[in-house]
């Protein structure tokens, strides 16, 4: 296979010998459910996944090649063409754009001699962009292979390229060349926590294992009662009662149950789980262990988004240490029959995997497509077993609730939204970072804390949430008013709302899994429609068109992505109508602006290799 002429034509292409692929598969016991790990390893070692490689993986794992290709082609971090030894992924979030991404991009392109999307001829570098990597509080940011660099300036970017060209390791560039750093020190050496305000529950002082010790002193059923009585609701955004979820999973008759932590923090503008994973990993694992105790689960998974792979060693450290201290593994804290262990599943660049069913699909080695509901994961989840999927923050809260009691938690916050919440604040403010505050405070209070005097528009809950204007800043943060998984993205009056909306729509187009028609196709149409407004080609009736199309997408989509993807358009139409009407004034000659003759004839003009006598006004010039 190594003699394949298709492969030998470029000396710089890493050719994966079948024997190496066979041993990668063997490391994962040829288990098709570990497909994502297998392909990530192949990508890591050989920098691409060729058709021949897919054949080998398929035969080792008992799948067909097209099934392997289905996975390889789904995730952004897997590639079917050769990538450089160093892949630089510039974070292309709207916050990064406003923080000077264009200049940084230009600089990388010039210094590396490649454009975004290209790989250098010597196979050394690939330059790409990627959606939000969870560093909005320190934008512009980028991934270099598995590490993260933040607060990029042109000078820093130049320095990075020079160091990479000298052959320095990305790790050393990201956190300084120190050998004796622990994984934790490495992580905080490259990414700042930016904890601006610690509250009583998560970011204040947290006694170790206090919740777990109380949990083993009580019956599993009463753990669930406590969590339910505390009023804890899922912190990922959907807000389902955590106690109920655990109760359903515990009630389903089954030999195996699974606890999964959703650490696929992909909603643009959200980064609070990054901070918890860095600073409170023990609390997270403690919460998962309590959930295992409550439901009778023996297996756990932490689904860590590929963008946070720099935290893997740190988390593995924590898990290993807990195993040593009998906090994981068999007979936890000496309790007979209390066995529970956790494996980390790394993602590979797919926002949709934050959706519960898609996350489970991804853990099973499949493309990250949501599952048909019902059955629900609590009844039939990972590999068909009852599965609890909770957000990082939710597990941390649960551990604290077990320690301090349901009443303590219930009394914080407001009706329907109890306890505290971590807010990821970014954008046009003086103090971006993480704030832990009780639910029920007004957005205005949070903006004051963050030093956002210039705020003119705030995206609460990320693109799938709500964009609100000043008149709504008094509204309360909580499930029943302004719901958010944590993101609070602040825009000053200098920012172009339509640019933000167009960016968010392109994000959803990029991240739709494509399973259902309305989300796959409808979002592309919405993106094109908003593009017309941006170009000044929209008619007043295009507003109705967008509303109408949005309604269809929301009503017919299969999962939460399509049910919320029109929100950037709908909420700005609602709260910033003048932004739209300003660019849809009827033209003076009453010609419909919609039809752009110049772009319509562009293809013909190229084919004919001449200009149009009729439509190119400057033809004679």
């Amino acid at each position: 296979m190594a003699d394949n002429p298709d492969q030998s034509e470029s000396a710089n292409q890493a050719i994966a010998p079948p024997s190496a692929i066979v041993s990668i598969c063997a490391r994962f016991e040829n288990d098709p459910n570990r497909m994502l790990d297998i392909l990530l390893d192949v990508q890591d070692q050989f920098r691409w996944i060729s058709g021949e490689t897919m054949e080998v993986v398929a035969s080792q794992t008992g799948l067909s090649r097209v099934q392997v290709e289905g996975v390889a082609s789904f995730y952004s971090f897997l590639s079917q063409s050769p990538k450089g030894r160093i892949t630089i992924r510039l974070c292309d979030d709207i916050i990064d754009r406003f923080a000077g991404l264009a200049e940084i991009t230009g600089l990388f392109e010039r210094e590396l001699g490649v454009k975004v999307g290209e790989t250098s001829a010597d196979g050394a570098f690939s330059l790409e962009t990627t959606p939000c990597i969870g560093m909005c509080d320190q934008a512009p940011a980028a991934m270099i292979n598995d590490v993260v660099v933040t607060k990029l300036t042109p000078a820093r970017a130049r320095e990075i390229v020079a160091a990479l060209k000298r052959g320095e390791q990305p790790e050393d560039i990201a956190h300084g060349p120190k050998d004796d750093l622990s994984p934790y020190e490495q992580a905080i050496g490259m990414v700042e926590n930016n904890i601006r305000l610690g509250g009583d529950v998560l970011l204040g002082s947290v006694p170790k294992e206090a919740g777990l010790k109380k949990a083993i002193a009580t019956k599993p059923a009463s753990i669930i009662d406590t969590v339910e009585a505390a009023g804890l609701r899922g912190c990922g955004g959907a807000g389902f009662s955590t106690g109920k979820k655990w109760r359903f999973a515990a009630a389903e008759p089954s030999e195996r149950r699974i606890i999964i932590c959703n650490a696929d923090e992909g909603e643009p503008g959200t980064f609070k789980d990054r901070v918890l994973l860095t600073e409170r990993p023990d609390l997270l694992v403690e919460g998962m262990t309590i959930a295992a105790r409550a439901t009778g689960a023996r297996e756990g998974l932490i689904y860590l988004r590929g963008e946070y792979i720099y935290l893997r060693a740190h988390l593995e450290d924590v898990l290993a240490e807990r195993r040593e201290r009998a906090l994981l593994g068999e007979k936890i804290l000496g309790v007979d029959g209390f066995d529970f262990d956790i494996r980390i599943q790394i993602g590979a660049g797919a926002y949709i995997c934050g959706e519960e069913g898609a996350l489970i699909s991804s853990c099973e080695g499949l493309p990250g497509e949501p599952k048909t509901r019902p059955p629900f994961p609590v009844n039939c989840g990972y590999l068909g077993f009852p599965t609890v999927v909770n957000n990082v923050e939710t597990f941390c809260h649960a551990a604290r609730i077990m320690d301090r009691g349901a009443d303590w938690f219930f009394e914080m916050g407001c009706e329907g939204s109890h306890g505290t919440k971590l807010f990821s604040v970014s954008g046009d403010c003086r103090k971006p970072g993480v704030y832990e505050l009780p639910y029920g405070l007004s957005l205005l209070e949070l903006l004051e804390l963050a030093g956002a005097e210039e705020a003119a528009a705030v995206q609460v809950g990320g693109p799938s949430g709500t964009m609100i204007d000043r008149a709504n800043f008094h509204r309360k943060l909580g499930f029943d008013d302004l719901a958010t998984g944590g993101a609070v993205i602040i825009f000053s009056g200098q920012r172009n709302i339509l640019e933000i909306v167009e960016y968010y729509m392109s994000f959803f187009v990029h991240e739709s899994c494509g399973y259902c028609t309305p989300c796959r196709v409808g979002n592309v149409f919405l993106q094109k429609a908003i593009g017309k407004f941006r170009k000044g080609l929209a008619n007043p009736e295009d507003i109705d068109y967008m509303r109408d199309l949005s309604a269809t997408i929301i009503e017919t989509s299969r999962c939460g992505l399509g049910m919320t993807s029109p929100n950037p358009i709908l909420t700005t139409l609602e709260n910033f109508p003048l932004v739209y009407s300003a660019v849809t004034k009827p033209t003076s000659d009453r010609i419909r602006a919609t039809f752009d003759i110049q772009s319509a004839i562009e293809d013909a003009r190229k084919l004919a290799k001449r200009r149009s006598h009729i439509f190119d006004e400057d033809f004679t010039k």
Partner: protein
């Protein structure tokens, strides 16, 4: 597991349901047609095209995957729901290159037939995406034009579950998601003209083409020239 049979209603009609049945399965048995494209008799349900969207107790669900339950009030043939369905059919038309006058599937095409059923008679408001994917004519008996594919996945399920072959599969994500073959091209697979997956019934559009028989049945005498899509199911109804 001996849950009793039950009844529920679709647009006011009483429908008999058995435990484990989806709304669509029960409706089909009762002779009530719910429009669908990705669903096909004998294949697993997918719930991808969303044409079979109905309201169950006021909530939008896909009838092909939503379990029927006792007493549920289902709405299907309302103006609002048919408008949603028409939007979805239009999306599929605009996503691919569906030029009925030059397509050999015309008259047998379920997408075209669905457009007629849902009164998609005027030019539509959506932009055309005009994909330009390579035609795969490598196989002696079968050709594949994925520019006409509507991603229903019926061929994938038929090949996996009925033929036990797995010739087709989805690759890519989002708007780039498409049906691909298990190999470099169709000739490189063990696809056979006798496969269920490539039978005239399975591909609802003109994507999987059986060579040499395209116009064996002339236009005007084809399946949907005889009657509107869904009439076979509606013919079963007795009231």
């Amino acid at each position: 597991m001996s849950d009793p049979d039950f009844t529920f209603t679709i647009d006011g009609k009483t429908i008999a349901g058995k435990p484990g049945q989806t709304i669509m399965e029960a409706a089909d048995e009762a002779g009530v047609y719910i429009p669908r494209l990705c669903d096909h008799e004998g294949l697993r349900h997918q719930g991808g095209c969303r044409i079979c969207t109905v309201k169950a107790e006021g909530r939008s669900v896909a009838a092909c995957t939503q379990p029927a339950a006792a007493g549920v009030v289902v709405e299907s043939e309302t103006d609002h729901i048919n408008k949603l369905r028409r939007d979805l059919v239009e999306m599929l038309f605009h996503e691919g290159n569906h030029l009925c006058p030059i397509c050999e599937a015309s008259g047998n095409c379920e997408l075209q037939a669905m457009a007629y059923r849902l009164d998609m008679t005027a030019p539509t408001k959506f932009p055309f995406l005009e994909p330009c994917r390579e035609l795969d004519a490598s196989h002696p008996d079968i050709a594949l034009d994925t520019n006409r594919c509507i991603s229903c996945g019926r061929c994938i399920r038929a090949s996996q579950d009925i033929d036990q072959k797995g010739i087709f599969g989805y690759v890519g994500r989002g708007i780039h998601r498409r049906v691909a073959v298990n190999g470099n091209n169709l000739a490189g697979t063990d696809a056979d003209i006798a496969d269920n997956a490539v039978s005239a019934d399975v591909c609802p559009v003109g994507c999987i083409i059986r060579k040499g028989v395209g116009f064996a049945t002339p236009i005007g005498e084809r399946e949907f020239d005889q009657g509107m899509i869904g009439t076979d199911i509606e013919g079963k109804r007795r009231d």
